[in-house]
């Protein structure tokens, strides 16, 4: 594989996929430990109505209104879930199920009712994303990485997801101690003066930001898979949070790179001509990693924990 071919066609999708995977896996670690793993699932469903409403309001496919719409929809969803849970005294899982399915159904209905024939907006796109199309046409080889003019034409998703990754990493880094303590021992965290509820809400919002940014680039499957699979696999490898986060980053990176390569080049090796869905393949690879970790990981079993959990 030469640089002339690799850099324009594969480098940017791989980088975008990797950044998106890591941006989701980082908050995913904490969500997993706090038993809120399905927040990612819920968010990735509710962004659809947000995006459709943003499109209806602006009449164009442009990134910022859609991101805002998606973020707004996730906030609405979180508030609705909380409201239904409290008002109706319903268990959180069911409240979540009520909200995200309804919002998704509303999004689909809106989408069907509007004329989107001249723009690229449909449910499939929202689900699978379009990682393969994020190519860097101005690149001619590795040398383009130093060429300011070519760099100016990078797909806009790349800097956006990179910025999101930096924000997420900074949030985790700054609040590391507070997050760690409040995740493992909420009561102790409260006595230390950590504002546990605000922190939990902030974590969900950061997760939503990561999900929305990743969703824009790679579709919702990767978002759900990356929120859960790499942290879950990492959890089987270690008992220490620092190591778990590190493992999850490694697993997310492997999933993204191997998944993309398998999707893009695997069929060619098998003699077929067309690539398969990269988003789906990345999710599949992360699943295989999780399966291996669950089978052979050194800390896979619940040692010392009650078996009834």
């Amino acid at each position: 594989m030469s640089g002339e071919e690799f850099v324009p066609l594969s480098l940017t999708p791989i980088l975008i996929g990797t950044f998106a995977a890591i941006a989701c896996a980082l908050p995913g670690n904490f969500l997993l430990l706090r038993r809120q793993a399905l927040i990612g699932d819920a968010i990735s469903h509710v962004v659809l109505p947000g995006i459709v409403v943003a499109f209806l309001l602006t009449g164009a496919i442009s990134a910022w209104p859609m991101m805002l719409g998606a973020a707004g929809a996730s906030v609405v969803a979180v508030i609705l879930i909380e409201a239904i849970r409290r008002l109706g005294r319903i268990e959180p899982g069911a409240a979540m199920g009520v909200v995200f399915t309804t919002m998704f159904a509303g999004g689909v209905l809106l989408l069907e009712q509007t004329d989107t024939s001249n723009v690229h907006l449909d449910v499939e796109h929202a689900l699978y994303g379009n990682l393969e199309s994020l190519i860097w046409l101005d690149a001619v080889g590795w040398s383009s990485l130093l060429d300011a003019q070519a760099l100016a034409h990078l797909p806009v998703e790349l800097p956006r997801i990179a910025a999101t990754l930096v924000c997420v990493a900074m949030f985790i880094g700054v609040f590391w101690r507070a997050l760690k303590i409040s995740t493992f021992d909420e009561g102790f965290a409260r006595t230390m003066g950590i504002r546990v509820n605000a922190l939990g809400m902030a974590l969900v919002i950061v997760a939503a930001i990561a999900a929305v940014a990743a969703f824009d680039a790679v579709g919702s499957i990767i978002v759900i898979a990356m929120f859960i699979c790499p942290p879950a696999a990492a959890r089987m490898m270690t008992n220490r949070l620092e190591a778990q986060v590190a493992w999850s980053i490694v697993f997310a990176t492997i999933s993204a790179v191997v998944g993309y390569v398998l999707a893009g080049y695997g069929p060619l090796w098998l003699g077929a001509f067309d690539a398969v869905s990269a988003a789906g393949m990345i999710a599949t690879v992360s699943g295989i990693i999780l399966a291996l970790a669950a089978k052979f990981g050194p800390c896979r079993s619940r040692t010392g924990a009650p078996m009834t959990a």
Binding site: D41, G88, A94, E112, I228, P267, F273, G287
Partner: protein, 401 residues
């Protein structure tokens, strides 16, 4: 148009789809109740997403064998198989690893769905996907459904319902109180397995109508809706079936009236409308009932405090208290107590004193625990007891100089 749709006069297929959807809605509502009461509502989300690879593999297999890849029975069998595998993975992950159930649900859901999407793109690149219409399984599509397919769905809905009728007793018992059921000699794990089998059946039958992404709504929303109306598990089951069936019927009928109304989302939105109605208007558990309860409580507190203040001739400044006293005819508009007001105030004060005696007396411990400042003493003590207390309080006596 809407009237014709609701009375099933829009053609044979639309009628069959509506009937099938109704049966499916009832089965889904009932099955979902068991899941909901077991607090495992979101397991169905994993099961439904896990059907996708099975559908695709079944299509590929049938196409490879030279048959028609669209044969619905084959596709549904494939989906059931992969949903079963997904469920097994889910159970294995929760039982044998340290992952909690929600993480296992998310993992199974995303990985199976991702793999299914890979297979979908494989089918597309093979150039046989266009006519397959497998995308219809994601969101359901009843438009242009074949007569045979409609029969299969109506039959499947009927069969699932029959199965539920057969299995209802142990499932209600386990859903309501698993420990008690186990003590009665019912194998909880086997009942759980049957429940999951029903979830799979509902999912598979619902694939064509509602689609695999939204079928979970049919399992969760009716159960949650029904829970608002009653505290008895049998009634929850019945009401969930009813609301699920109603939502599915309305949704399927309405979606037949216009080309741009996809069946699945309409059914889901219908069921959410029923849910929202219940959330606000259900007696006892509904929001409106809670607000009314709060207002009634507030009024009782204000009235009580107002009467006590009247009895001790303290001035009342609180506007709500004054308004309530005025409306009850206890004070005149200028704030002076009426005859009735003085009588009630005196009784309130005496009741307060009676309670004081009751609470100071060890033998009335149980009754004293019920004191909250509002309860009428007549509701917890007998006439004789009250008379005894009054004797202890004594009558007003002359003040000696």
């Amino acid at each position: 148009m809407v009237y014709e749709a609701l009375t099933l006069q829009l053609g044979y297929n639309a009628t069959l789809v509506a009937i099938g959807a109704t049966l499916l809605g009832i089965s889904a509502g009932v099955t979902g109740t068991f899941l909901f009461l077991r607090k495992r509502a979101l397991v169905s989300d994993a099961v439904s997403h896990a059907t996708l690879p099975g559908v695709c593999l079944a299509f590929l297999l049938m196409a490879a064998l030279g048959g028609d890849g669209r044969d619905l029975i084959g596709l549904l069998l494939g989906s059931a198989l992969s949903a079963g595998i997904g469920l097994w993975c889910l159970n294995w992950l929760t039982r044998n690893t340290r992952l909690a159930e929600d993480a296992a649900i998310g993992a199974v859901l995303s990985v199976f769905f991702g793999f299914g999407v890979v297979l979908l793109t494989v089918i597309q690149t093979l150039g046989i996907g266009k006519q397959a219409g497998l995308e219809g399984f994601l969101l359901g599509s009843t438009a242009g459904m074949l007569w045979e397919d409609a029969v299969i769905i109506a039959g499947g809905g009927m069969a699932t319902l029959m199965l539920i009728l057969l299995l209802r007793r142990p499932m209600i018992l386990v859903a309501f109180d698993a420990e008690y059921a186990a003590a009665q000699g019912i194998s909880v794990s086997r009942v759980d397995m049957m429940m999951m089998g029903l979830v799979m059946a509902v999912t598979v039958v619902g694939l064509k109508i509602v689609g695999l992404i939204l079928i979970v709504a049919l399992l969760i929303i009716p159960a949650v809706t029904a829970r608002f109306w009653t505290e008895r598990s049998e009634y929850v089951v019945l009401l969930a079936g009813l609301s699920g069936g109603l939502a599915a019927y309305l949704g399927a009928a309405l979606s037949a009236t216009a080309p741009n109304l996809p069946t699945g989302p309409i059914i889901v939105l219908m069921s959410f409308a029923l849910f929202a109605l219940s959330l606000f208007f259900a007696p006892n558990r509904g929001v409106l009932a809670a607000v009314m309860r709060h207002i009634r409580f507030q009024r009782r507190v204000h009235l009580r405090q107002g009467l006590l203040a009247l009895a001790q001739s303290q001035p009342i400044y609180e506007k709500l208290t004054l308004r309530l006293l005025r409306r009850a005819g206890f004070v005149r508009p200028d704030g002076v107590a009426t005859e009735a007001g003085r009588a009630r105030a005196a009784k309130a004060l005496r009741d307060e004193k009676r309670w004081e005696i009751v609470r100071a007396d060890q033998t009335h411990e149980a009754a004293a625990a019920l004191y909250d400042g509002l309860r009428e003493i007549e509701t917890v003590m007998t006439k004789d007891q009250i008379a005894e207390i009054d004797r202890r309080i004594g009558a007003p006596s002359e003040v000696l100089a």
